[in-house]
């Protein structure tokens, strides 16, 4: 019983803190107050610790990784988002990804806490098919891949919706930094000006354009990095699932709906990575592919369980 109380404390505290952090991040996004930055970072660290506490409590209670049912998977996904928040906090000083990640963590957490019936939140013992060492590797890598891919796709959606018509002009392939201007004769010119603008004019009225260009550039770069990391994880997740299926049931691919949708997600992100290389289609095409990936990941994660057929249906959404 004590486990139940401890879990609930962790869950509700982290929910509250995530809510506050999301609010703070959204305010910070528009008004840029330094103190808010500080508070939201520490708040997120605390929420991360609380969610980790929940997961470890479940682990001690059930002696297996807390990935058995939908509730635990959603909490793990929220944990993944907060972990990504902390990682991106270290690298990205421009704080573009913070509102996105905080909001995602909050929404997933809220869905798990508020919308799932109480019965589903209990920890349950594993059915025989899940009692395997592969459970840890397959489910955890797949969920982490979902978190990173969702993050990348969200950034792509942001990029597409804000800069709908202009990605082509400022896309990454054309942003070649021209080193010649880093000469000592022009110490004041930042080397991040795109080449076209430099050659056209030196007027500082193009300052704003440069900021937009930087934003597009950064969003694109972060989308690419997140999606490429998520793609590697998704590959490992799908393959470990296939190997597990072979060890358990003798068939490494049985066109189960969840497997098939994971493959479709893998294909769309492979398309994204390939379009990104092509000079003609990069920019708009790749962003659209990544945006579609967002919906496919959600279908793969939740939609398939609604269908109710196949190996992955454990009566989660009754």
């Amino acid at each position: 019983m004590i486990y139940l109380y401890v879990e609930q404390i962790f869950v509700y505290i982290s929910f509250l803190i995530l809510f506050l952090v999301t609010l703070l991040n959204l305010i910070n996004f528009f008004f840029e107050i330094d103190k808010i930055n500080h508070f939201s970072n520490n708040g997120m660290k605390f929420a991360f610790l609380c969610t980790t506490g929940f997961l470890t409590t479940r682990f001690f209670q059930t002696q297996h990784l807390p990935l058995g049912n939908l509730y635990e998977s959603l909490m793990f996904l929220s944990w993944g988002f907060s972990f990504l928040y902390l990682i991106s906090n270290v690298k990205n000083k421009k704080r573009l990804s913070a509102p996105v990640l905080a909001t995602s963590a909050l929404l997933v957490h809220a869905f798990a806490v508020l919308s799932l019936p109480h019965k589903m939140r209990e920890s349950m013992s594993l059915v025989p098919a899940l009692q395997s060492q592969w459970l840890m590797m397959h489910v955890s890598t797949t969920l982490i891949s979902y978190a990173t891919l969702l993050f990348g796709s969200l950034l792509a959606i942001v990029l597409l919706s804000i800069f709908h018509g202009e990605i082509k002009r400022y896309c990454v392939g054309n942003l070649t930094n021209n080193f010649e201007f880093r000469n000592k004769n022009y110490p004041l010119i930042s080397k991040n000006f795109p080449k076209q603008i430099i050659t056209e004019s030196f007027s500082y009225s193009l300052f704003l354009n440069s900021r937009k260009c930087q934003l597009i550039h950064l969003l694109d770069k972060w989308t690419y990095q997140a999606i490429s990391l998520g793609f590697s994880f998704l590959t490992i997740g799908i393959i470990s699932g296939a190997v597990w299926a072979n060890e358990a049931w003798g068939s490494y691919w049985s066109w189960d709906p969840k497997e098939t949708w994971a493959l479709i997600t893998w294909l769309i992100y492979a398309i994204y990575l390939h379009i990104r290389i092509n000079k003609k289609w990069m920019g708009k095409g790749s962003t659209m592919a990544a945006s579609m990936g967002f919906f496919l990941v959600w279908i793969c994660f939740l939609g398939v369980n609604l269908l109710g057929v196949g190996l992955h249906n454990y009566d989660w959404l009754i």
Binding site: P187, N246, L267
Partner: protein
């Protein structure tokens, strides 16, 4: 300074692999990659004659359409892809080709010697090759065919379209339930969806009830495999060859054509070399020019990804046409022959000797958690060979199969075969249980007839069981009589008959597979996992040339150009600038100010700009 090689003035070999092998800090992967290409080169030495004849024919063909200068150029070029110039082949190589033709005669001579040695079959590069035989024309035709096929199949929109259509078909397969009977589809899609355009008939005609084995789906997969092969052989491998061939640049103009280039005044090549080596580049210097690269694995890994995918597809095909599969439900205590239960999957299936094994089920148990839920299914199996000796014995459970003689036996299902009872002290009788409900919630029932009403009007006691532990008993009128646990020896009197439930005998559902393609598929899986991760490494190349007192630096990367530019810029900041004091020319130069200080002004100004903008 260990990694800087001052090359002797030998002619560079085609691969140059042996020189890289001497480098002391060469990574293992680079060594093996070069070794692989060396080996392939040596093995393909057999087919060298055709290759060089082809080059000569091409040069002859080009000579017919262009001026004679081109011939010289192609013959001084080391053998490469004859028609496809990959889009981002560095202009450096072309420039160098021209430059070399005009540069020192010593260099040119050596290259010409190379050509003559290699093209020992013809007497010169300008004459039409004398060895134009019929077989040669046949080879030329084949090569042309291969090239057209490659060009068609490796087109980029085709690849994207293939991936997208395969994805869409997979999605359709999840929306429409697969593998059901014909009536199911006719009934389910009977009302006219989509204004009569789509109904059950369409589903069956378009093979949408078995999309994943439909001919068009398999054809698309085959096309994808062909595209992968074409793309790898026609685009990626030549890129690798060109990228690997380190070329020293002899003119600053060609460096300036690269994406990233910079001129550092008053700098020394050796300083740059040291800095690059410190940043884990492989550095090579010859005379005034320098070439460095890093992350060669990033060039090979995409090829590895495609190769791994091909391995997986090949293995899966082999499984589909060369395996065995069988399912069987065996009551506890009975035997079966493995070979009788297995069905071949395709035309390449070869039954192994181990199919003559007899399997005996010793015991089947279901373990439960304290709350009653099932925790594990266990089956104790013994395998006997034809002579009756026990060759294997194992207790298998759901995630723990039995492997013997190439086939594997999995625990996948269970049932109840009989209920053993004593009736009025007589017995034991085995009543066969029939499945009333299958799937996740199984229900089995059996019937003990009472009286002599014949088959039609038989009345009796019904017994139902959901698991191997207890039986629910109903009397002749269908009223609930009681529950008994098996093995409790507690009698129950129903309709005047005393029944003791002795045992509920279960049957185990086993699935057996012989899958010859699994090792291939596993190898493909491992390769795919590794190469997917590796292909995010950037292959970075830096060329530098000392022009009088200043240094011209150019660089190229195959991904992530912007970040590479920043990193290289930071590295170049550390190259010291040498200010020579004219009066003390003979003494070593004094380093009075570094480029770092100068660019610090620039960076501090840049930081001001950034902070004012952010």
């Amino acid at each position: 300074m260990n990694t800087i090689q001052h090359l002797s003035t030998e002619a560079p070999s085609v691969l140059g692999g042996h020189r890289l092998l001497k480098s002391s800090s060469c990574s293992y992967f680079v060594t093996t990659a070069h070794g692989f290409l060396l080996a392939r080169r040596m093995l393909s030495g057999i087919s060298q004659p055709e290759k060089y004849r082809r080059i000569l024919v091409n040069s002859y063909n080009r000579k017919q359409s262009n001026s004679s200068n081109t011939t010289v150029k192609t013959s001084t070029k080391l053998p490469s892809v004859d028609h496809l110039t990959p889009s981002d082949a560095p202009s450096v190589s072309n420039a160098e080709g021209r430059e070399d033709a005009a540069s020192s005669s010593q260099w040119k001579e050596r290259k010409d010697d190379g050509v003559d040695v290699r093209a020992g079959f013809s007497s010169g590069k300008d004459k039409k090759p004398a060895l134009l035989t019929d077989s040669f024309e046949y080879f030329a035709f084949l090569r042309r065919l291969k090239r057209t096929a490659e060009k068609l199949l490796s087109s980029f929109p085709l690849a994207i379209a293939e991936l997208a259509i395969i994805g869409a078909l997979c999605a359709v397969g999840t929306l429409i339930e697969q593998g059901q009977s014909r009536e199911f589809y006719l009934q389910k899609y009977s009302e006219d969806w989509a204004f009569g355009l789509f109904n059950g008939e369409w589903v069956l005609n378009l093979c949408l009830d078995h999309v994943y084995t439909a001919p068009y789906f398999l054809g698309l997969l085959a096309l994808l495999a062909a595209s992968l092969i074409a793309c790898t052989s026609s685009r990626q491998i030549p890129l690798v060859k060109i990228a690997r061939r380190w070329r020293f640049v002899n003119s600053g103009a060609s460096i300036s054509k690269l994406d990233f280039h910079e001129t550092l005044p008053h700098a020394r090549l050796a300083d740059l070399a040291v800095l690059l080596a410190g940043d884990k580049y492989q550095v090579f210097m010859r005379g005034p020019s320098l070439y460095a690269f890093k992350g060669l694995a990033g060039r090979f890994a995409p090829i590895g990804v495609h190769a791994a995918l091909l391995l997986i597809m090949g293995g899966a095909t082999y499984s589909a046409i060369g395996g065995y599969h069988g399912t069987i439900m065996v009551p506890q205590g009975l035997n079966f022959m493995v070979g009788e239960a297995m069905y071949p999957a395709g035309f390449l299936s070869q039954p192994p000797d181990s199919f003559d094994t007899e399997v005996h089920i010793n015991k089947f148990t279901i373990e439960t958690y304290p709350n009653g839920e099932v925790s594990q299914f266990r089956t104790d199996l013994s395998l006997f060979n034809l002579r009756g000796q026990e060759v294997s014995r194992k207790v298998i459970s759901v995630n723990d199969p039995l492997r013997y003689g190439g086939f594997t036996m999995y625990q996948t299902d269970w049932g109840i075969s009989t209920i053993q009872i004593h009736v009025d002290g007589e017995g034991p009788f085995n009543l066969v249980a029939a499945p009333l409900q299958t799937g996740d919630n199984k229900l089995f029932g059996t019937f003990l007839p009472i009286g002599d009403n014949g088959l039609a009007g038989a009345k009796g006691i019904s017994m139902l069981a959901r698991d191997l532990q207890s039986v629910v008993i109903y009397d002749s009128n269908g009223a609930f009589a009681g529950v008994r646990r098996s093995g409790s020896e507690k009698p129950i009197t129903v309709d005047g008959v005393t029944i003791i439930i002795d045992d509920i005998i279960g049957s185990t559902g086993l699935e057996m597979k012989l899958d010859p393609g699994v090792p291939i598929v596993y190898a493909g899986f491992a390769a795919l996992m590794l190469t997917t991760v590796l292909s995010y490494l950037c292959h970075l190349q830096v060329w530098a040339l000392q022009v009088d007192d200043s240094l011209v630096v150019g660089a190229k990367s195959n991904r992530n150009r912007a970040e590479f530019a920043e990193d290289l810029g930071k590295l170049l900041n550390f190259v010291p600038e040498i200010v020579r004091d004219r009066s003390m020319e003979n003494i070593a130069p004094i380093i009075s100010s570094t480029n770092e200080e100068l660019s610090m002004q620039g960076t501090s100004a840049k930081m001001d700009n950034e902070s004012s903008r952010s």
